[in-house]
């Protein structure tokens, strides 16, 4: 028997799918590399030890002065704080959604809808909400009080920004963690149940360790989102380039730092760039490069954690 050769149009249609997928991927990669390359090219010259270790100097005349020490510290504070707030809530919610909830329950549908809506809200809305909410007198413990003798809080501080940021990243982190928990094979759960191991212990001792790489990915995704957001920081951390507390490294100042205003790399970029409110594009590019390196490092860490876990299995 002779196998007939493939016809022209059939040959073409066989290529269209893979080719368009390849082109789309190439476009995405090209755009990404172009942006990163541009930022590195413009910022490279300004990123040196001095840039990293001096504080911003926001005088309009001296556009070349100042560095990103405070913004780096601010980004670190904000990311750590919001992760601290996000992690337990996201993990709990993910376990509940993946293991305990029945999709037919009204409460499940309500939670899912809530998460979807939350994920769709732009961060500037969260920022506005945050200031409005945390300016209320009962939240004076989270930020310095407003004017002397008033019962209104300032509504802008690391605590406020981290809380609002946590709400902003929560739906994304929950989604990733839930998927990670769901992807743990059912056979583990069945094996545990058949041994008379309670569901909670099986989750704690078997399912969660098995899902750990995915959970770590969720945490790091949340960190990346928090590090990269501008609107929330701009609105709820105070429109400044420096911190309210000068000696922020002093341990006894920790409460004041957390209740005080500050800046992060994103707001540094915003306040330096002519596209934002500043007049120092080279500083903005320098800050952008540092931020991108930070985010790439976080992503690499996520990949490495995942790979290390897989190898130990």
């Amino acid at each position: 028997m002779r196998v007939s050769p493939i016809k022209g149009h059939a040959r073409l249609s066989r290529w269209i799918g893979p080719a368009s997928a390849w082109i789309a991927a190439a476009v995405v990669a090209a755009v990404c590399f172009f942006i990163v390359g541009h930022i590195v090219r413009e910022g490279y010259a300004h990123v040196d030890w001095k840039f990293l270790t001096t504080d911003p100097d926001p005088s309009p005349a001296e556009s070349t002065g100042g560095g990103v020490r405070i913004p780096i510290v601010g980004t670190t504070f904000l990311v750590l704080l919001s992760t601290l707030l996000t992690f337990p809530i996201a993990l709990g919610a993910a376990v509940y959604l993946a293991e305990y909830m029945d999709e037919r329950w009204a409460v499940t549908k309500a939670i899912r809808l809530g998460l979807e809506v939350l994920a769709g809200v732009p961060s500037v809305v969260f920022g506005m909400f945050g200031v409005a909410m945390f300016s209320h007198g009962v939240f004076t413990f989270m930020s310095s009080s407003g004017a002397e003798g008033s019962d209104v809080a300032f509504g802008r501080s690391f605590l406020v920004a981290a809380t609002v940021m946590a709400i902003h990243v929560l739906p994304f982190v929950i989604k990733v963690m839930e998927e990670a928990i769901r992807s743990v094979p059912l056979s583990y759960r069945q094996g545990a149940a058949a041994l008379g191991v309670t569901k909670w212990r099986a989750i704690r001792r078997i399912v969660l360790p098995a899902a750990a790489p995915g959970i770590a990915t969720g945490v790091i995704l949340g960190m990346g989102l928090a590090a990269g957001d501008t609107a929330i920081v701009w609105l709820t951390l105070g429109g400044t380039m420096n911190m309210a507390v000068d000696n922020w490294w002093a341990l006894d100042q920790i409460v004041n730092v957390l209740r005080g205003t500050g800046s992060t790399l994103t707001t540094f970029i915003y306040f330096s760039s002519p596209a934002g409110e500043g007049n120092a594009p080279e500083l903005a590019y320098g800050g952008a490069m540092v931020l991108i390196l930070l985010v790439i490092t976080l992503n690499a860490a996520a990949t490495l954690i995942g790979r290390a876990r897989r190898q130990t299995r």
Binding site: Y188, A194, L195, V197, R205
Partner: protein, 286 residues
């Protein structure tokens, strides 16, 4: 003829039915005593939603014997097995009628602690499913669940004993910290048996335990079961008729949700009472 004489009063009817039922239970109890019955299945019916997957199933599993469930795919044999440790409880739409007793205790009694039931009725699955942790921890996990205060040394002893009983000790004793997922399929399955043995069950159920194993691993598992039957009651679901013939004492043949034939393995294989059994046993279908 006078109608009122022909039809007994409803009370009498009920009493007669009760008596008949009592009689039936007496006969079953006598038989159970005689056969040293451990699991007594009476008139079991199982539904998933409106779908009846088992009906009219009545038989008994004697202690310290191997009972094999055979039958073509979808006949309900795995469902029957999963009734004994209430693994079906987790399945949406599951409902059952009838009664299953383990050592005289109704296992579907609402007062029964399902966790404790599953400790007593161990189960090994078709595909080996060791947990993604060390060999030691695979066994220790469930032991600690049922005995939270066990000391480190005692625990090590239990782990060793379980591995010895499952004929796995010699192969793994030097590296108990190794991931269980690094073991071969046959070793993994023996680890799953060890895991079930470690919590001191009375019954060990195996749902096609050799389906994904090579012939040598299969032979080792069969040998192991023949050793274990001295101390445990074993129920095995198998597609492999030769296997059922080799190792089982009693055989239950299921077809389309009914128990068509039950009895001594040799008798069922060599002199089946029913046409369907004969056809299945000689390989006409399934």
């Amino acid at each position: 003829m006078n109608e009122s004489l022909r039809t007994p009063a409803p009370e009498a009817d009920e009493a007669a039915m009760l008596l008949a039922e009592l009689d039936r239970q007496m006969i079953r109890a006598e038989r159970a005593l005689e056969r040293n019955t451990l699991i007594d299945v009476d008139n079991l019916e199982v539904r998933y939603g409106s779908n009846v997957v088992l009906r009219d199933v009545t038989f008994d599993v004697p202690a310290n014997q191997i009972t094999a469930f055979i039958g073509p795919s979808g006949c309900g044999k795995s469902t029957a097995l999963r009734c004994f440790n209430r693994m079906n409880d987790e399945i949406r739409g599951f409902s059952m009628n009838g009664r299953i007793q383990l050592g005289g205790q109704d296992i579907y009694d609402p007062r029964v602690d399902v966790t404790e039931l599953r400790r007593q009725v161990g189960m090994v699955f078709q595909h080996p499913n060791p947990f993604p942790m060390s060999i030691h921890e695979n066994i220790a996990l469930a032991v600690r669940e049922h005995n939270p205060r066990i000391s480190r040394d005692e625990l090590d002893g239990v782990v060793e004993q379980a591995l010895v009983h499952a004929n796995l000790w010699d192969e793994v004793k030097d590296d108990l910290k190794r991931s269980a997922l690094a073991l071969s399929g046959g070793q993994q399955q023996r680890l799953c048996i060890a895991r079930a043995l470690a919590v001191r069950p009375t019954v060990i159920m195996l749902d096609e335990p050799c389906a994904s194993l090579d012939p040598i691993s299969t032979a080792r598992i069969e040998e192991l079961l023949l050793e274990l039957v001295a101390d445990y009651t074993i129920i095995i679901v198998t597609h492999n008729l030769a296997q059922a013939r080799r190792i089982s004492d009693d055989v239950a043949f299921f077809l389309m949700g009914r128990l068509l034939e039950f009895g001594d393995a040799r008798r069922v294989f060599e002199d089946p009472l029913r046409r369907e059994t004969a056809d299945y046993v000689r390989g006409a279908y399934g």
